[in-house]
Symmetry: C2
Subunit: 361 residues, 2 copies
């Protein structure tokens, strides 16, 4: 039975944030018992985790749990919240690898520590210190995600199956990230490769696997688990793709006030997204030349960004991608139409499909 306070995504989000704050508070005390020099590390991680975030992965995990017949408990909230720590690792390392200096309108972790180092006129390279701190804080967040899951209080009998899903989603994430950095080094690109990267790096990791993670916390009945898991893939895979396509659009056209990232950030970083690969298939030779001469330049000004945006729009890719998002979202929502998923979860997952794909940040 789900209690009244836990029925809506907003209420669950609040519970997740509460558990994250509690967990990070305990860890801060522990780190400071080793050395006060660790205070900046725990403060940076707390601020990174608590000052924003849509909590999509914990929410999908939680409603995946409810949909598989689970009953609300604080232990489940804690287990689901652990995915937000994994996401912190992914974002911290991603920002460093991409040289992306802003996150949610604030300095990325590597920039934050670079600035701390400069301000203190400390010994050695500020950039190097910022990079090293971001590598370690990402590692620490990854270990914390394990710790939070293990200490959540979930039943021991659930542990092997939830660990298996958790491991698989993390291997997929790292594989997708590796494909992504490799793709940026290639001189030719295809929509198909861009789709594979998006699927592993983002789609499966954001939606399908969190749902499976939640389901694996709800039941040890293998048949029931297999059935629910399969329906969740039917919902999660197309929705994950739609989620990533929305991200592609926001990376080019998003409002900096809402995304917390500079305007046209993906254009400056030269991100080989599905959007860009799709657009390039329909561009004229002249447009391809104009696009490639500017795309990925870190010094793009607002004028150059406007030109690149126009080329993308002229290619028809924006309209195509918007239609695709709608189509994929519909396919996802239709997959919820099964008695294998509880009625309550079906309703919330329909809402979350909109949250994930119609967002402005």
């Amino acid at each position: 039975m789900v209690n009244e306070n836990s029925a809506t995504p907003a209420a669950i989000r609040a519970l997740i944030e509460g558990e994250l704050a509690t967990f990070l508070g305990v860890q801060k005390t522990y780190l400071e018992s080793i050395g006060s020099e660790l205070t900046p590390a725990s403060d940076a991680l707390s601020s990174f985790l608590l000052d924003g975030g849509k909590r999509l992965r914990p929410l999908f995990a939680y409603f995946g749990f409810i949909g598989a017949g689970g009953s609300h408990s604080q232990e489940i909230i804690r287990a689901c919240a652990s995915l937000e720590l994994l996401q912190a690792c992914a974002l911290i390392h991603d920002d460093l690898m991409d040289g992306s200096d802003t996150r949610r309108g604030k300095p990325a972790i590597h920039k934050h520590f670079e600035k701390l180092h400069s301000k203190e006129s400390a010994v050695g390279s500020s950039v190097g210190f910022g990079q090293a701190a971001a590598i370690l804080l990402g590692d620490l967040a990854l270990v914390y995600s394990d710790l939070a899951l293990h200490q959540s209080g979930i039943k021991n009998e659930m542990l092997p199956q939830v660990l298996a899903v958790h491991d698989e989603m993390r291997v997929e994430l790292m594989a997708g990230q590796f494909l992504d950095i490799y793709e940026q080094t290639r001189s030719s690109h295809t929509v198909e490769r861009a789709l594979t990267i998006a699927r592993y790096k983002s789609g499966k990791y954001t939606i399908e696997r969190p749902l499976h993670f939640g389901a694996s916390l709800a039941t040890t009945d293998n048949n029931h688990l297999a059935e629910v898991t399969s329906h969740y893939s039917g919902y999660g895979l197309p929705l994950g793709e739609a989620f990533q396509l929305r991200d592609d659009l926001l990376g080019v056209f998003g409002d900096p006030e809402l995304t917390g990232k500079p305007a046209g950030d993906d254009l400056r970083e030269g991100k080989r997204t599905v959007l860009v690969a799709t657009a390039q298939e329909s561009m004229s030779a002249v447009d391809i030349k104009a696009f490639e001469s500017q795309f990925g330049r870190s010094d793009l000004d607002s004028n150059a960004i406007a030109i690149l945006r126009q080329i993308l729009t002229d290619s028809g890719a924006i309209e195509h991608v918007e239609n695709l998002i709608t189509k994929l979202t519909n396919t996802a929502v239709e997959a919820l139409d099964t008695p294998a998923i509880t009625t309550e979860a079906r309703q919330v997952l329909s809402e979350l499909a909109i949250t994930a794909t119609k967002r402005s940040h």
Copy 2:
């Protein structure tokens, strides 16, 4: 009962390496099913893990298990082997953070991918690609260490207690690493701070926690586990310190042919070790000035290295540290004198104390 083939560290090392090879083979097949672009990533990780390494952490874990009354099994070998994957993460990220370009006589992972990128004349920055690949391969190795442990086949009832030790050792490792990079940015140093860093970053992580990890796989009798764990700390903490002090000496005086690192590597990197902090307490003002003007310069030639070595020797720190290693090792071995640890393990752990502290690489 331990079978005849599993009684010596050399035999256990061979079993561990066999399990690592099997594990990495399975993972390689999986990654390649996602995309052939992942082949260089799996190959680099396999070569990094299989072409060398003392396997100290798995060995301490295994004999920690035997000492707590455990009976040999392939499942335990697999669980202990997982610690080598964690160590791969630590080394890959450490080399990147330190800008240390050589590992076991071969290019470090970031250098390896930097070279691959250059050789292919790929798009973008070779250095940037090398860094990103090293971040991701370290992350992947960390996730693999979890996966290897979870899939080892150890009994479900052991899982919560072994996960707790595993999490603690990883948080300690990351905390120690953070203290280390922070220390390099300070303008003054103390032996006490250097000792704390060495304890968390290396000592506990290399010896005490692997022993605890092994013990937690051997028994669910809380009293027995607590007793063995306490004796292991009596052995592992001083031995861990001695291990790190030997590392400090090898980083300055080690033979490159044996260490696989350039001569005087720690002097070029300006590593603030216990050895250096101890030496500085006894240096003359003239020597301190001469030392600080060269220490940490990446362009040190063999002449400059010889001068720095002489200053360290003249300070009396080398002799002091050698005496300390002997004293700490003796203290460690004396702590084994308890019936709480099985006779067989006591003998092997006495040998491993020598392996860990009298080594040339």
